[in-house]
């Protein structure tokens, strides 16, 4: 067991446990905080995958913005501090069954694939993935079109969110 494998197993255990707490805990704000732990775990996986840029973007976008949005929304849509009522709906046993079956199915299908246990090849020397990514996102024969569309989507989402949640002036 190399140290990297031990680190992976430890972080994976923490991430999956936190994800389970997100979906099982009664208090919504606690669920948001467990979500933050999960997102941190995912950021660590990005670092293990030599995608350090993604780890930092994950912290900035997900934890710095989306998680705070969740906490705000949870605070604004409740009337008392303590939670009331069960958090799992009537069909949750069926949902659990579907989740377990999906997991089993995914793993079964993937393990048929010959590349399932491939090891990581060494990264090609020279090119910095960060510079490559930046060039690819704005170069006309690479990914500039999805990049611009994503920008339009973000502007639309921003305008839409403000319009939907604007309180009408009396």
């Amino acid at each position: 067991m190399t140290p990297v494998q031990l680190i992976f197993l430890a972080v994976a255990a923490v991430t999956l446990a936190a994800a389970l707490m997100v979906v099982l805990t009664r208090n919504l704000i606690h669920a948001a905080l467990w979500l933050i732990v999960t997102l941190f775990g995912v950021a660590v996986f990005y670092v293990l995958l030599n995608a350090g840029f993604f780890a930092v973007v994950q912290v900035v976008v997900y934890i710095g913005a989306i998680a705070i949005l969740f906490i705000f929304a949870a605070m604004l849509t409740r009337r008392v501090m303590q939670d009331t009522g069960p958090q799992l709906n009537a069909g949750s046993w069926l949902a659990g069954l579907v989740a377990v079956l999906s997991f089993g199915g995914l793993v079964a299908v993937l393990s048929q694939w010959p590349g399932f246990s491939s090891q990581a090849a060494a990264l090609p020397e020279g090119a910095d993935p960060l510079v490559q990514l930046g060039t690819a996102l704005v170069s006309p024969d690479a990914y500039v079109l999805p990049f611009e569309l994503a920008s339009v989507l973000l502007v639309a989402a921003m305008i839409g969110a403000i319009t939907v949640s604007l309180e009408k002036k009396p």
Partner: protein, 410 residues
């Protein structure tokens, strides 16, 4: 001639290899030791900066400041620390214990994490990630999280309102901060902190003074220092999100805030004033550290000066300033700098300048651009100038006898 820390690190490495440890373990131990030293150094520096701030605060206000404990009151922070350590922890009833205790720890950690990427000398940096600048933004957003946790877990509606306002302020000021941070990255063409420092043959504050100003102002707002200290002013919302914290937990928030103020001085010095650059810094790295600290303390003096001199802003003035003024200005500056930089890179070989003069001409071009943008902005703001004082009501006469009632008897 090497930096003393490099010498010590190398000596420790040979020592541990002599003990028979594997090279991987030695690297891990040295890394952890380095992290501990940086953290301890940061926290130890706060003791000094708290004294410095109180003394400066007092002297500018024409009083003496702490002067009893030690020469010039330099040991004053220690009795304060002892007092805070021995205070009782009062946890409010109904508070969420785990979140309540975690918030101050997260607040200090978010600031200490920033110290991992600040370069003290050409080879002394915690870790030179190639996304150093983005890492700063990421860690800054963790501070906002700790404030919500503190406000919500206190089970106190004033604390929660204060936390909402604080997070609104911090999130609003993150946007112009990120935009202003992108401009030195554009000019240096790298996000590494050491790369940014090395690219400053001419300090970036001469290239893009507007970006330096925006970064400085938005970092002040992120910290919650005056004039943006609506969040912790005693006259507003009790003490904001810190209302229910006492003893060491409040001490952690306090320490976190001072450390944050010092950290933004260090960041401004690194990004815009050249960091460890100076005469002879490459040959004698210890000089680089000295230059870095001189610049940092100069910026910290300006931070304290601003705190003492300016009145507090209201929350709506704060948010308007960020969204309606700083963000458009930063966007325009970013676009203009990108266009000018691209033109410069294409055109400057054809100008046939002396090699030594190239950074200065480059700086001059961007400086002129900044002046143009500044002039354009001032012209755009002219219609909004307050022309006359708004008369709210007639001034009341103070000590004038009322008119005698008209007498019926003539």
């Amino acid at each position: 001639m090497d930096h003393p820390i490099t010498i010590i690190a190398r000596w420790l490495e040979t020592l541990m290899l002599g003990w028979g440890l594997a090279p991987g373990a030695v690297t891990t131990i040295l890394t952890l030791l380095g992290a501990a030293v940086v953290g301890a150094f940061g926290l130890g520096l706060v003791i000094f900066t708290i004294w410095l701030e109180r003394k400066l605060y007092a002297r500018i206000q024409d009083r003496l400041g702490p002067n009893r404990v030690g020469p010039w009151g330099i040991l004053q922070t220690f009795p304060d620390m002892i007092k805070i350590f021995t205070k009782e922890f009062i946890t409010p009833d109904g508070a969420d214990k785990v979140v309540y205790n975690l918030a101050p720890i997260l607040s200090v950690s978010a600031v200490l994490l920033t110290w991992a990427v600040i370069p003290f000398a050409p080879a002394i940096i915690g870790t030179d990630v190639n996304v150093g600048v983005l890492y700063l933004v990421a860690v800054g957003s963790l501070g906002a999280l700790s404030i919500i946790m503190a406000g919500w877990s206190s089970n106190n509606k004033y604390a929660m309102l204060g936390a909402f306002r604080a997070v609104a302020q911090m999130v609003s000021y993150e946007v112009p901060m990120v935009l202003a941070l992108l401009i030195p990255v554009l000019l240096a063409q790298t996000m590494k902190m050491n790369g940014l420092v090395e690219a400053q043959q001419v300090w970036f504050i001469f290239y893009v003074p507007i970006a330096a100003l925006i970064f400085f102002i938005t970092s002040l707002a992120e910290t919650g220092r005056a004039p943006f200290d609506l969040l912790e002013a005693e006259s507003e919302l009790v003490a904001g999100f810190q209302t229910e914290y006492s003893g060491l937990k409040f001490g952690m928030f306090y320490v976190g805030e001072f450390l944050h103020a010092f950290t933004i001085s260090a960041l401004t010095a690194t990004l815009f004033l050249g960091g460890w650059q100076g005469l002879g810094a490459e040959r004698f790295p210890i000089l680089g550290t000295i230059f870095f600290f001189i610049k940092t303390f100069a910026v910290y003096f300006v931070v304290i000066w601003i705190r003492i001199s300016l009145p507090r802003l209201r929350i709506d003035q704060l948010l308007n300033f960020s969204w309606k003024f700083l963000t458009p200005l930063a966007l325009v500056l970013l676009l203009a700098t990108a266009i000018v930089e691209k033109l410069w890179l294409d055109l400057y070989p054809s100008l046939n300048l002396v090699v030594g003069a190239v950074p200065w001409v480059h700086a001059g071009v961007h400086f002129v651009l900044n002046l143009l943008i500044l002039w354009g902005m001032l012209n755009l703001l002219k219609p909004h100038k307050v022309k006359t004082r708004r008369t709210v009501a007639e001034p009341r006469p103070v000590a004038v006898a009322p008119e005698p009632p008209v007498s019926e008897i003539s």
